[in-house]
């Protein structure tokens, strides 16, 4: 009748415990196991949130909220399914909801941390300047895009998710991922051309 006691069944020494094992332990209320999952995926969770919210502070809050929500939703998590895309889906929803709640400004403050035109040492000064300018153009376009489009681009180009993971994270059929991505790229190009016309 005492508080529940649980026996830790750690994996073979020195080997990282698999997500599935950590998830199962978390489902049984093992918060150490869940903390390990948080540590494992905090970076990509915060990055995903940032791509949507465009501010680092909001993104950290979103990631934290998402991890808490995910914990309480674990009983709906299908045993054996990959954890990362499932988590990202919760993160993305949370981030989009936060944007909506904040009154959704048309653009986000997504920015590049440190980018000097001369940073690409392997390139000639001209090529380096060109690459820098291209990044600026792409970034400006990204800021104005719909969250969903930014997200699909980020999953593919920023975080290098597989098609299968993207399907899970976006909650769409695998066959839909390619068309989503190509539509997002088409809209990105349209936005870039809009930018350039504007600048001209």
């Amino acid at each position: 009748m005492d508080a529940v006691k649980r026996v830790r069944t750690d994996s073979v020494e020195g080997r990282p415990t698999e997500d599935a094992v950590l998830v199962e332990r978390s489902k049984n209320g093992d918060q150490d196991a869940y903390a390990e999952l948080v540590t494992r995926y905090q970076a990509i969770a915060a990055r995903t949130a940032y791509v949507i919210t465009g501010t680092a502070a909001d993104a950290e809050d979103v990631a934290q909220d998402a991890f808490v929500k995910a914990y309480y939703a674990l009983d709906r998590f299908r045993t054996g399914a990959p954890f990362r895309p499932w988590l990202l889906r919760i993160v993305a929803n949370e981030a989009i909801n936060r944007r909506k709640a904040a009154g959704r400004r048309p653009t986000v403050g997504l920015s590049i941390a440190l980018d000097r035109a001369s940073g690409d040492t392997a390139l000639s000064p001209e090529a380096s300047a060109l690459a820098h300018e291209r990044r600026e153009v792409v970034l400006m376009a990204l800021r104005r895009m719909r969250e969903e489009d930014r997200l699909v681009i980020a999953y593919r180009y920023f975080f290098d998710l597989s098609e299968l993971e993207m399907a899970d994270a976006l909650g769409v059929a695998r066959g839909t991922v390619k068309s989503r991505l190509s539509r997002a790229i088409a809209r990105l190009r349209a936005a870039m051309e809009g930018d350039e016309l504007h600048d001209a």
Binding site: M1, K27, V38, A45, A56, D75, A131, R135, L139, Y157
Partner: protein, 270 residues
């Protein structure tokens, strides 16, 4: 120079470069923050306990149906409210006072309690030592059921005392007294989350072991079995209840009696 449309390769490469350079947040201690949040009680949302992974249970639909029933009976705009809940929202619906309202619709007794048998048969067949009260006011049970836990691994024995002088028929159980026995575990925190403000929970000692006396307004309650499952049979409204554990077996005595009477009855279990 960017007027020129980038080629597909140029755009791919540029996107990858942008992705590497974004001013991402760099959380380092998120696990601590999350852990602290998980330790906080989820104030005012006792039904979240039902959804917490700690209390994960299989027949969630049955549970939702039962809670929806509570809503239907307790809330004027019942239909909308039930839908809200089924979508796992609906924050103000399940105020504790609402729990008491559907008490008149007594849950049919012995629901999923198993098949009718006799006390002797139950004692022979069950996978634990079946006890029964020797208290004179209760006498022999009118009905004895033997069934299985939902996961099929544990025997459950239910003793029904339909009408007994001096013990009012409980609106919740529909009988004077109900005894349920099985191998299980009582989770203190769980009861605390499910009971409304008008329900008291008291630590008691029963036959030398720990137990709980639950008294006052009807409460929603359930057990987990040894596999951690919550039994949807026991997730229902209940009246005054004494719970205790004895030799690895959990006993539940539900009867509209005083705490001391319940303890006396419990002491007579043989």
């Amino acid at each position: 120079m960017t007027r020129e449309r980038m080629t597909e390769q140029e755009l791919d490469a540029t996107l990858a470069e942008v992705g590497e350079r974004l001013a991402y947040p760099r959380p380092t201690r998120l696990a601590d923050a999350v852990r602290a949040r998980l330790r906080e009680p989820r104030a005012g949302r006792w039904w979240d306990a039902l959804r917490s992974p700690r209390y994960a249970f299989a027949p969630i639909l049955a549970t939702l149906a039962l809670l929806a029933l509570v809503v239907v009976l307790a809330v004027p705009d019942a239909r909308a409210a039930a839908i809200e809940f089924l979508h796992l929202r609906g924050i103000d619906i399940f105020r504790a006072p609402a729990i008491a309202t559907p008490a008149a619709t007594a849950v049919p007794r012995a629901t999923s309690a198993g098949t009718l048998t006799t006390l002797n048969e139950a004692r022979r067949g069950a996978d634990f030592a079946v006890l029964a009260p020797a208290d004179a006011r209760l006498g022999s049970p009118d009905e004895v059921y033997r069934g299985k836990s939902p996961n099929g691994t544990h025997d459950v024995v239910t003793l029904v005392y339909t009408i007994r002088a001096g013990i009012p028929v409980s609106r919740e159980a529909g009988v004077s007294a109900l005894v349920v026995e099985f191998r299980g575990r009582v989770d203190e925190g769980l009861f605390g989350k499910v009971a409304g403000a008008g329900t008291r929970i008291e630590d008691v000692t029963v036959n030398g072991g720990r137990g709980f006396w639950i008294e006052g307004e009807p409460h929603l309650f359930f057990y987990r079995d040894e596999s951690g499952n919550i039994w949807n049979e026991t997730l229902r409204l209940a009246g005054n209840t004494l719970l205790w554990e004895q030799d690895g077996v959990t006993f539940r005595l539900e009867a509209q009696v005083s705490r001391d009477d319940a303890l006396r009855i419990a002491a007579s279990f043989r």
